[in-house]
């Protein structure tokens, strides 16, 4: 009787519409992914798209509005804004990517350990509380000021600041998941802790973390812009959207193009990342989407 019932059951097709298919059916998600992909391609292909050197100063063509030779115009030093935006995108997106990778991997490792071993948790979470007591921009400013302006500084400073919020999310999830019957069952079988963490707990938190990653990415890009804006960013030898905006602020009234183009690139990136984050959350947890 059981065999027959089982065979009949096994003939039914597996569940349709996985999270990825649901995501690609979401128009907002497709838009966000396309914009981000386009920005990434433009940034990567920057040297092939323009002959202009982003840092080359040409005093003869200062503050020229958009024209055939300079699609996005020139800034107060006669630099080509199109080149500046493309090469600036390289820095901004690189900072976003690296900060996301670094802060997420540190936060996941520490969060897993903190959520699983209560004694480590006591110490670690007090440290995190301390870290979170400072406003993050103050913390990043302090770190950047201490290390001196450079791309590496920005990445280190933002990574430190963004570890804490992800760590809290991971730890919170683990505290709930560790009480699941499957974890007790795994212990009863004799599954070692490390394998429980890697095979049971880590896969279970991946979807909320994916959502978290898109928000961390946007926070990092924005954070870089903010640090560059106050002069603690990438420094004079590199350009980023933030540094371009910072330098443009004195000319806003007479040269709109030097603000609008890097600003638009920044807004488009942040907007797409946030939309992607929302769409990811909806597709990974359909119960929330229907609300």
């Amino acid at each position: 009787m059981t065999m027959a019932a089982t065979d009949a059951m096994l003939d039914t097709p597996p569940t349709p519409a996985g999270p990825w298919r649901r995501l690609l059916r979401n128009r907002t998600a497709v838009f966000a992914i396309s914009v981000l992909a386009a920005l990434a391609v433009l940034a990567l292909a920057a040297p092939y798209l323009t002959n202009a050197q982003p840092l080359r100063i040409s005093p003869g063509i200062r503050l020229k509005p958009p024209r055939p030779q300079n699609w996005f115009g020139t800034d107060h030093l006669g630099r080509d804004m199109f080149a500046l935006v493309l090469f600036g995108g390289r820095t901004s997106l690189l900072v976003g990517l690296l900060v996301t990778l670094i802060s997420m991997s540190v936060a996941i490792t520490l969060g897993l350990v903190a959520g699983f071993y209560r004694r480590v948790d006591m110490v670690l979470m007090r440290l995190v509380d301390g870290l979170m007591a400072f406003p993050s921009i103050v913390l990043a400013t302090a770190a950047a000021g201490y290390l001196g302006p450079s791309v590496t500084t920005v990445i280190v400073a933002l990574s430190i600041v963004l570890i804490a919020p992800v760590l809290r999310v991971v730890r919170g999830q683990i505290l709930v998941l560790r009480e699941l019957p499957m974890i007790e069952a795994a212990r009863a079988v004799g599954v070692p802790d490390r394998r429980i963490l890697a095979r049971y707990l880590l896969p279970a938190i991946m979807s909320p973390l994916l959502v978290q990653a898109s928000f961390i990415f946007s926070a990092a890009v924005l954070g870089e812009a903010a640090l560059s804006f106050v002069g603690l960013g990438v420094g004079a030898r590199d350009v980023s959207w933030g540094s371009a905006l910072a330098e443009a602020r004195n000319y806003i009234q007479n040269a709109w193009w030097i603000v609008v183009f890097p600003g638009a690139a920044l807004v488009l990136t942040i907007l797409s990342l946030n939309l992607l984050g929302d769409a990811l959350r909806d597709s990974l947890d359909p119960r929330l989407a229907r609300r």
Binding site: T2, M3, A5, T6, D7, M9, L10, P14, L180, P181, M182, E184, A185, A186, R187, A188, V189, G190, V191, P192, R195, R199, Y200, P203, A204
Partner: protein
């Protein structure tokens, strides 16, 4: 008993003020099925977990295969788990939904370094056949199976390391009645074929009667009566056992039915734990806790009335 597989003595567990399990002791021989019955809140599930040290005991000795599990280091205990497995009440929650059936059944062998991957895959096939699941189940996921089938998967997983003891905590109470008998028969069959000892936890008296050689009746964290199944079912000596048996449908009722609920384990009554609900309680019960005493060979009762 010299060839005891498991010998538990003085086992206790307190969670802060709550005395969940107090001074529990019993012995299980090789190949024997020992049942623990009790209402919810009687501490039977905690006892199951204490025996496997999934919950750390506050006090007590758990002698398994000649060594005290309570004193083993974490890693030594983990290795010893190869010889003792558990089947849980919830056949869905206890299986990792992200693993295929093959991965689930092979995992115990993998973590205890039994065989190589080819052998393990072959053994998964054997185990599937033993629990009555088709070979095609191998590459499926737990959510594609019914409750009874999932419990079969859990049983296959528990058998994978060829343990000597399986602790089954309410293994059929989450299943439909029509499926319960199938799973119980499977357990009984496998137990006999492999010479397993089974510690069987249930609130269902009929299930325990069907499965077990000896039983212990738990009330409020203590064992009130323990003995051979036939004796206990034919002639219960503790008033609680008697009331429990009479409360089963289809049984003749001689005494008064039990009133009220099991008291809180955080606020234990003085004297006998059962006095607040006992139809035959008298003076002595309110201030003196009865000690378990033998009323027949291997039949012990913790009741003042059993003395006469």
């Amino acid at each position: 008993m010299t060839d005891a597989l498991l010998d538990v003595a003085g086992l206790s567990k307190s969670f802060h003020q709550v005395h969940a399990v107090r001074d529990v002791g019993f012995t299980i021989g090789r190949g024997e099925t020992f049942g623990i019955v009790g209402e919810s809140g009687s501490g039977k599930s905690t006892t199951a977990r204490l025996v496997l040290r999934l919950v750390e005991p506050t006090r007590g000795v758990i002698r398994f295969r000649g060594q005290d599990l309570a004193t083993l280091s974490k890693e030594a205990l983990r290795r010893e788990r190869r010889h003792m497995q558990m089947i849980f009440q919830d056949p869905f929650g206890s299986l990792n939904g992200r693993m295929t059936i093959e991965q689930l059944i092979a995992e115990p062998m993998e973590v205890h370094h039994i065989g190589d991957s080819v052998e393990r895959r072959r053994r998964v096939g054997q185990l599937l056949a033993e629990v009555g699941l088709p070979e095609a189940a191998r590459h499926r996921f737990p959510h594609e199976f019914s409750g009874g089938q999932r419990q079969r998967i859990a049983i296959a997983r528990a058998l994978a390391t060829e343990p000597q003891l399986i602790v089954a905590d309410e293994p059929v109470s989450a299943l439909d009645v029509s499926v319960q008998a199938q799973v119980l028969n499977l357990l009984l069959d496998l137990q006999q074929r492999h010479g397993l000892a089974l510690l069987f936890i249930s609130h269902d008296l009929r299930v325990v009667e069907f499965m077990c050689d000896r039983i212990a009746v738990m009330y409020l964290g203590t064992v009130v009566e323990e003995g051979p199944k036939a004796e206990i079912y034919a002639e219960p000596r503790h008033p609680y056992t008697r009331a429990l048996l009479e409360s089963a449908p289809g049984r003749a009722r001689k005494g008064a039915p039990l009133k009220g609920d099991i008291p809180s384990a955080a606020n234990l009554p003085t004297g006998c734990v059962f006095q607040s609900r006992c139809p035959r309680a008298f003076d002595r019960c309110t201030h003196e806790a009865p000690q378990p005493r033998a009323v027949a060979p291997s039949h012990r009762v913790a009741c003042h009335l059993a003395e006469e």
